[in-house]
Symmetry: D2
Subunit: 133 residues, 4 copies
């Protein structure tokens, strides 16, 4: 990794939005991170409080993809574009995002992300392009 | 519209996550909505608090695209997939999302969304597919 | 435009794949092109020869989005990523693609494309990111 | 598989566009296919004939993702949307697409596809949503 685990953790919690989300860094290797998103009532999408909002899942995918690249690039980098496929609803449960770098070029990086629940079921998959310049 | 403005507004604020975002309905017509996202410190992305998180913009796009379809479908519908292109950073400013229905079929609907700041600059564009079944 | 209409036309037909497609340039302005794709039997997708292949529509979207940016950039540029939504089947008919630049930055450009048939019905929409560097 | 290898092969070559592409089925299992795209001059993108057109790669991704789902669904199914990330140029070389089903629901299916060259280098990745209804 081009950044220490501790620095990566500091960067993760330095964002006010990440603080709201309550994100923590579970694991990090070169080109890979695993994040945890502990459940919060504020994440709920619908009037029946029955599932987590797609915007929360999109946020988690954005951050995880970014941090997978940050392990290689060593600094915070902006997202260029993002795509999310929602596979099944997330309930009132903690979620995990695993992100892997697909490409890390001089100007662009691409990451693949999967969101899993505690039971290991896939909740959503996503892919993001980030500026590595 | 297949739902009243008031019902649409009630649906918008019935979600705990929408309450966190502070979303309000500015305008609604058949196949079109305009939402307002008033700025909040919790939206900030980086350690320098200099721009709004991509996850917040993604959330706004998801909701706006959904509600444009809800004007036609008349009920809450889940997102199938979502794509966001980030054009320029959003600063500490209120944002607006305008969403237009591209297609509203029996099983699938597609919406196009643009996020603008108060100065009318495009911050991000997005497109989502939703289940209308 | 940062390239003449004639040069743009020459660039369009200089590609062997564009020659196979039979693409022609109908219209071009700064940040905008309209292309024509005359129908060919080789475009057909299925054993019943009933509709045009999604790969053909994807190709048309890729090229149109690229050429909208080429009007501004003045030279051929590579595609970074591409997204296509298929709205309705294209039959044995000529198709038209209209592409508009959403953003033309120093390193990245984004175009929006719509494919229409002769009756003016929307067949597909797409968005592409291109390297303008 | 819910279709025999031979039927899958027949379906693949029943499309006039697939015939133009020269596609062949290398391997198929439940939820997985490997296709081969032998190089053709007509695939070339640029005036210098130096690389394969993005539209060809998009086509290959569309077909491979579709056929991965066809192994499970047992019949031809239409594409709803498609996303492609181009990683590196494909030269005058045969290409291979490997597609895996991410989800196969009653109404929607999702496939992930990677295009590799003979040297095993990743040329492009893509993801598609298909109608399984």
């Amino acid at each position: 990794m081009n950044i220490s685990f501790q620095k990566l953790e500091e960067l993760l919690v330095s964002s006010k939005y990440h603080q709201f989300l309550g994100l923590s860094l579970e694991n990090a290797e070169d080109g890979y991170v695993k994040l945890k998103l502990p459940f919060k009532e504020e994440f709920l999408a619908d009037e029946h409080d029955s599932y987590v909002h797609g915007g929360i899942l999109s946020s988690l995918i954005d951050v995880a993809g970014d941090f997978a690249l940050i392990t290689m690039v060593g600094k915070a980098i902006p997202t260029i574009d993002l795509r999310i496929d929602f596979l099944r609803p997330a309930r009132k449960e903690d979620l995990y995002a695993e992100a892997k770098v697909v490409k890390c070029g001089r100007s662009l990086g691409i990451s693949d992300v999967v969101i899993l629940n505690q039971a290991g079921k896939e909740i959503a998959v996503g892919r993001g392009v980030y500026s590595t310049a």
